[in-house]
């Protein structure tokens, strides 16, 4: 498979505060990657750089071999093609919902990308229906619950059917049913040509949404591997602040071990403290 993105030795900072440090990553077409890291590890910054919203202060990012620069993205024909192919779902749905109704919100992207209007209404209806949002079509986004807002934000990007989907904490704020809807969506893209990069710190969904996991800490890669290998490495998860030492007792036996939510662990081999 061809490299869609090539992140080459990229550094980025927010007014002197480093967010990414000499970061390198190759993303291939059809890959499902989870960027795993605690808050402030640089996941959201990386997604914005991949979406050509931020540009690195050092290093380069290439999309199908073409470097993403401010000058390049100002070129209308390149920009239109890039925005059709790459889409980002923001962590905070409020920043993504600025239209008067849910219907208008989902129609916004296609309108900007100049889809034919005859097609557009049908597509919006279909997308709303697939995300169980049809009953909210005429509601104002700011009146929705947190979970509903997130689903609308997702729908507003999914309608574009992009080749590359960048998801920033897509299951945060969602109730279990909506969470499984999102996970099912990402799962169904397995084996397709769609590339999905998901930033998350929810370990329990990683095996379902990714074939490769990149663990980030302090703006750099701490480790990379299959979900199984990464999740089995308790020390790594502790170092990346993705698990914590849990101390508890079984009768008179007190012990501690790395703990993360959503998974079971074996008590037989634990030593007494």
């Amino acid at each position: 498979m061809a490299d869609i993105f090539e992140v080459d030795n990229v550094s980025f900072d927010y007014e002197g505060i480093p967010a990414l440090r000499d970061f390198s990553l190759q993303i291939q077409q059809g890959e499902r990657i989870a960027l795993l890291g605690a808050n402030g590890s640089g996941k959201s910054t990386l997604l914005r750089i991949l979406d050509a919203l931020y540009f690195p202060v050092k290093g380069a990012v290439r999309f199908f071999g073409r470097e993403l620069t401010e000058r390049q993205i100002r070129d209308d024909s390149f920009s239109l093609d890039f925005r059709k192919r790459v889409a980002l779902v923001f962590q905070n749905p409020d920043v993504q919902l600025f239209n008067p109704t849910v219907f208008d919100e989902v129609a916004y992207g296609p309108l900007q990308l100049q889809w034919s209007k005859a097609d557009l209404v049908r597509q919006v209806e279909e997308t709303l229906s697939s995300m169980s949002l049809l009953h909210l079509r005429d509601r104002t986004p700011y009146r929705l619950s947190g979970g509903e807002k997130k689903r609308v934000a997702l729908a507003s990007v999914l309608i574009l059917d992009p080749d590359v989907l960048l998801l920033d904490e897509p299951t945060a704020m969602l109730d279990p049913k909506s969470q499984s809807l999102v996970v099912d969506l990402i799962q169904q893209w397995k084996g397709s040509t769609k590339t999905v990069v998901t930033a998350t710190h929810q370990l329990e969904i990683v095996e379902d949404i990714a074939d490769r996991v990149v663990v980030m800490d302090g703006g750099a890669i701490l480790a990379s591997g299959t979900p199984h290998d990464i999740l089995a490495n308790a020390d790594l998860l502790l170092r990346a602040n993705l698990a914590h030492a849990h101390r508890h007792s079984h009768g008179s036996v007190v012990h501690s071990h790395p703990h993360r939510h959503g998974h079971t662990h074996d008590h037989d081999s634990h030593e007494q403290e």
């Binding site: 914005r48 979406d51 919203l53 209308d76 920009s79 239109l80 925005r83 059709k84 889409a87 980002l88 923001f90 905070n92 409020d94 920043v95 993504q96 600025f98 239209n99 008067p100 109704t101 208008d104 129609a107 916004y108 992207g109 309108l111 900007q112 990308l113 100049q114 209007k117 557009l120 209404v121 104002t140 700011y142 009146r143 507003s156 990007v157 574009l160």
Partner: protein, 280 residues
């Protein structure tokens, strides 16, 4: 709204009053959406006809120099409100009483200082009320009441996006329309954020805040809100860019005028013209 009121069954604190204010603001917005969804006269018209027609009547109310003419326009405005499924009591609460108080205060001196035939003199204070003074105060109040009734009816019966679309189709620059759209959207988001900030303070506050403390708190809250709004506006812009925004505005439904719209527009313009002509 009811829930927020329930929080402050006893005498509301300064923070409590602020939260109630924000909640009222949000509720008002929801009420106007409710009116806009009802079926009625204005709601059935093309938004451009509503905007131009109402604007014509407002100009006529301002240009008309006779009380009878302005009174006739006020009756027309109230009739339009009734036909558009607004009840007069809610209009009185929202518009008429407030306008009467504020414009009344502005017009009050004219009652005493305008020269002309004296209607009544206060023996104790020695000041007189003149007939021309009462006339000019009445015409000013009625003018403002008419203009406010018309604009309130337009805003209550028209979703904000339709007003924006109408403004755009009347050649208002795309940048201005985009700015108004964002302002409307983020006004509510910031109001909600401010409400949550005050709620969080209320949940941790004990006793009554002193004057300086209140001022300090409002200052701090305004500062934090400003920082948040800067961050939000940048993120909103990025999310628009991410979905293909590059300066132009594309609308889904283009407005189309029907023959009924033309007829009503003519009626609006004719009414305004007749009122101005009669009130020369």
């Amino acid at each position: 709204m009811a829930a927020a009121r329930g929080l402050f069954l006893s005498r509301p604190s300064f923070i409590g009053k602020t939260i109630l204010g924000f909640t009222r603001g949000l509720s008002e917005a929801l009420v106007s959406e409710k009116f806009a969804r009802r079926s009625g006269f204005l709601q059935s018209l093309d938004p451009r006809v509503r905007l131009v027609g109402v604007l014509a009547l407002v100009i006529a109310a301002v240009a008309c120099r006779k009380l009878q003419g302005v009174a006739a326009l006020f009756l027309v405005a109230s009739f339009i409100a009734l036909l558009s499924s607004l009840d007069l009591w809610s209009l009185a609460k929202r518009v008429w009483i407030a306008v009467l108080i504020f414009t009344g205060l502005i017009a009050l001196p004219a009652v005493f200082i305008t020269p002309g035939a004296v209607l009544w003199t206060s023996p104790a204070l020695g000041i007189s009320i003149s007939a021309p003074g009462v006339y000019s105060a009445a015409i000013l109040i009625l003018r403002v009441e008419t203009a406010a009734t018309l604009t309130a009816t337009l805003v209550l019966c028209t979703p904000w996006i339709q007003i924006l679309k109408a403004l755009r189709s009347l050649s208002l620059p795309a940048e201005v329309v985009t700015m108004l759209t964002m302002t409307h959207r983020y006004l509510f988001l910031l109001m909600e954020t401010a409400k949550q900030m005050f709620e969080s303070r209320e949940s941790r506050a004990v006793g009554v805040l002193s004057g300086p403390d209140r001022r300090r708190m409002v200052g701090q809250t305004a500062g934090v809100l400003f920082s948040k709004s800067m961050e939000l506006s940048q993120d909103v812009y990025l999310s628009m860019v991410s979905r293909g925004f590059h300066g132009d505005v594309y609308l889904l439904h283009e407005c189309r005028l029907a023959s009924r719209d033309y007829a009503v527009l003519l009626l609006f313009l004719a009414t305004g013209f007749v009122a101005v002509w009669m009130g020369r």
